[in-house]
């Protein structure tokens, strides 16, 4: 991982992300990542809460209209996340918390798709595990947010060869 990180860090693009004084470089990628997080985790949480029985008069099947919001959030965060990763690859790749975060996001996205297909779109709450999975979805999104935030405090290396 350290070697992969070192190679990415040696590219001009990685260097630009790290050292550009422009607010539209690293700082703006962080802003994008926070926006995407609010949209993706936030809209998912709203949907989970609806499935769990809050706001019961919201027609479940009409909630599919909010799926594009979640997907836009996901795309914003995939792109900004990759850019942040190119900036500081070793920092993330050598930190187990980073893989925990990726695991949470993968689980969250799978749950989001499963819930759409089996619960939200058909407007069907009779699937006994729908509510359980909505609760699980809330937990993994919270996990993704917390592990993402803790990346800054749990890293071993800032760059290949230099400790955090």
């Amino acid at each position: 991982m350290m070697q992969i990180g070192q190679w990415i860090e040696s590219t001009a693009f990685s260097d630009w992300i790290k050292s550009s004084p422009s607010l539209l470089a690293f700082p703006f990628f962080l802003v994008l990542h926070a926006w995407g997080m609010g949209l993706l985790a936030g809209a998912n949480a709203a949907m989970d809460l609806r499935i769990l029985g809050f706001a019961p008069r919201v027609p479940l099947s009409a909630m599919v209209k909010f799926y594009p919001v979640m997907w836009i959030g996901f795309v914003i965060n995939a792109v900004s996340g990759i850019l942040l990763l190119i900036g500081y690859p070793t920092k993330a790749l050598t930190n187990p918390v980073f893989y925990l975060k990726l695991g949470c996001i993968a689980a969250g996205m799978l749950l989001m798709s499963w819930l759409r297909k089996n619960v939200v779109a058909p407007g069907n709450l009779s699937r006994s595990n729908g509510r359980l999975l909505a609760l699980f979805s809330l937990l993994v999104w919270a996990g993704a947010i917390v592990s993402g935030r803790l990346l800054a405090y749990t890293c071993k290396y800032l760059l290949a060869g230099s400790p955090c």
């Binding site: 607010l23 700082p27 962080l30 802003v31 926070a34 926006w35 997080m37 609010g38 949209l39 985790a41 936030g42 809209a43 998912n44 949480a45 709203a46 809460l49 609806r50 809050f54 706001a55 019961p56 008069r57 919201v58 027609p59 099947s61 009409a62 909630m63 209209k65 909010f66 919001v69 999104w141 919270a142 947010i145 917390v146 993402g148 935030r149 803790l150 800054a152 405090y153």
Partner: protein
């Protein structure tokens, strides 16, 4: 000028005093700051997820959802707001100087104030008119504008919140009031 200088002096004293309180001590522990930040991000997502979707409904997305029905999720947004107010006050108490003289913080507070005024306008002039809107019904133009202002304000709050780090007082001073 003398008065302004006196005010500035007492303000600095106040910020310094804040940093000597138990809360500030506590925030400087090993994990307290990261945990408060994590909660701040969770609160942010709760707010954007509920208030943001409500704004989008006002603006015309998901029209099959009755306004009043979707409004039942707003308490979760208020809960997120309260989490963020509390954790935010903890940051402010512990590291006042980092924020009080930071232009990005001023703009964040400005965005929050506009969002607050916008909410007041919404509940005093608009909510009664639109709470009866059923599925498929468009909100009036004024309500759409209120929704757009709300969403823009909260995105600005995130923007300036995330940029705080890059405008710490010593690093960058462009505003005359800091």
């Amino acid at each position: 000028m003398l008065e302004a200088a006196t005010f500035d002096h007492s303000f600095r004293e106040f910020v310094r005093w804040l940093s000597t309180t138990t809360v500030a001590d506590y925030m400087h522990g090993r994990w307290e700051w990261p945990v408060a930040e994590s909660l701040h991000f969770i609160g942010l997502s709760m707010l954007i997820g509920t208030v943001g979707l409500f704004d989008l409904r006002l603006m015309g997305l998901g029209k099959k959802i009755p306004i009043a029905a979707l409004h039942r999720l707003i308490p979760f947004g208020i809960a997120g707001y309260c989490i963020n107010l509390l954790t935010g006050l903890c940051f402010l108490t512990a590291e006042g100087y980092q924020y009080m003289y930071n232009p990005s913080f001023h703009l964040k507070i400005l965005s929050m104030s506009i969002a607050g005024l916008n909410v007041m306008v919404f509940y005093t002039t608009m909510f009664k008119k639109i709470r009866t809107l059923g599925p498929g019904e468009d909100a009036p133009l004024a309500a759409r504008i209120i929704g757009g202002v709300s969403l823009t304000c909260w995105l600005c709050v995130i923007l300036f919140g995330r940029l705080l780090t890059f405008y710490r007082p010593d690093a960058f001073k462009w505003c005359e009031w800091c």
